[in-house]
Amino acid sequence: MQNISLISVLIIPLLSAILMLLMWGKTKTKRLLGGVSTALYLLASIALFAEVSANGLILVDVGSWQTGFGIALVVDMMSALFILLSAILALVSFWYGSTFIKSNISLSIFHPVFFFLLFGLSGAFVAGDIFNLYVWFEVMLVSSFVLFTIGASRSQLEGALKYVTINVISSAFFLIGVGILYGLTGNLNMAMLAKALPLVQNQTLVDIAAVFFLVSFGIKAAIFPLFFWLPASYHTAPIGFTALVVALLTKVGIYSLTRFFTIIYPLEGTLIQPILLVLAGLTMVIGVLGAAAQTDFRKILSFHIVSQIGYMIMGLAIFTPMAIAGALFFVVHNVLVKTNLFFVAGSVYKVFGSFKLKELGGVMLQVPTLALLFAISAFSLTGIPPLSGFWGKYLLAKGGFDEGSTMVVVVTAVSLAVSLLTLFSMTKIWNEVFWKPNPNNDSRSEVKMSFITLLKQHTGTTVSIVILTILILLVSFFPNSLINWCMESANTLVNRDLYINGVLGVK
């Protein structure tokens, strides 16, 4: 029996993308179709999630080939969690994107490509085979290339050129890693690889392959010293287009790193664990320092993505169930919060026409709702209790201090210090954008909007922000079930026999 919800998670975005290509130019119909299919996608992912949490791992052998011969799609708790997360984001960012953009030509490209991207994302999360993962990565990347260059302004093209180049290199490294692993074991299925790798005689080659994967996924996740493409390109694309890209692409890197370094190549006790730990610390610090130097709303947020990636890598590198659960919780929290901050930046741009801190000001007096929504997300990002960031950081810190070795404790302490610097740059945005008087003497300084006017004039964008804020508050005040889900995912990852036996059908 093949699994319907798993298949529909893949089929819905693919079909919508194709349909939207056929409806070139008919913006209203496409908007309706997009709304319906993102809602359906969300339903399918909820069903998938419920199924996984009730029955455990789901395995579908595509084309009914025996596992290991054909392509296997595997959904465990972590995949289901990531799919659910991308479904929620797809829903809000589709609405944000399609109401943010006014140009019809841009919208015609945006709609189908958005769904191709979603197709690639859900594929990457369900792939149970490393070469298949590579293919899904490429589906996702090509779509994101297109999303980055819609509009084709000068800075966008420059950013995209770097983004494309670095991703080609990353894909090449990924393929080399796949090649080595296949040459060593003759397998591509993740579970079979996990079984076969310890038996390989030449373990040095396995380590080399692992380094290739580390570099490749590291580029995608934007860890230090491989992150420089991110602040160069992320802020260039119009916010409406890239909400999904900004929030989720780096998290796919995190997903693949976590998948690879737990199931296939358990990190514990290897040479790579201390390296990853140090990289995590450096990523956090450098990211947040980079943000401190910037004077553009979106650039500050872009550098913060880098800094936050450090926390997730740290959770993985500590490698206790608690810390990995913390990292997963942090991913969920971060995706919601970061997207919301970008959305707020976009809405500020819509009302005031700028992203530069110099040219902005007085938002709190003029549009108090936006200031409130920003404050909730910013506090949450910093990790002020009881908002969601606090729970993520608490789990990570507890995991780190419980583990207890000197290096882990030092990196964990660094992560706590970085929170303070995060607060500093959030305060900078707050001061410059929301608090100081508006520096312009034109019509922009006369704008005054209550919540109702904002909602009326910018319906789609405001509703998206409000929905995300409500979700952030839900995660903040009722973190229990999410923490439980994360713990469960982390347990499957650390006790990898559960995964391997689930896929290979050994009782």
Binding site: L141, T149, E158, V168, I169, I176, T295
Partner: protein, 117 residues
Amino acid sequence: MEVVLAILTGLLFSAGLYLMLHKGVVKLILGIMLLSYATNLFIFLVARITRGIPAIISENQDKLTDTFADPVPQALILTAIVIGFGIQAFAIVLIRRVYKATGTANMDELSSSEKID
């Protein structure tokens, strides 16, 4: 045969990298192409080359007993070539647009998106 291919792969990798480090955008694209060819060749090589023995089971047997040429890496390479082709096509169009928008083919001058103002 392996030795020759290994040296060739190494040469392709280094040439690709060398070209990518250049300032010109056209060289960048050539570098990207060479890098993906090198990767394909690498997979072909690392999965072991067997000549002249296809993976076909003869009629009076029910499994392969001899060594045979593994079809899986060839399938992988075929997929990778197609994907690489698509990305190269995109990249070529992209540099054309970059040149049209900026009027320069020098990578060093394409840094306006990173400046702090």
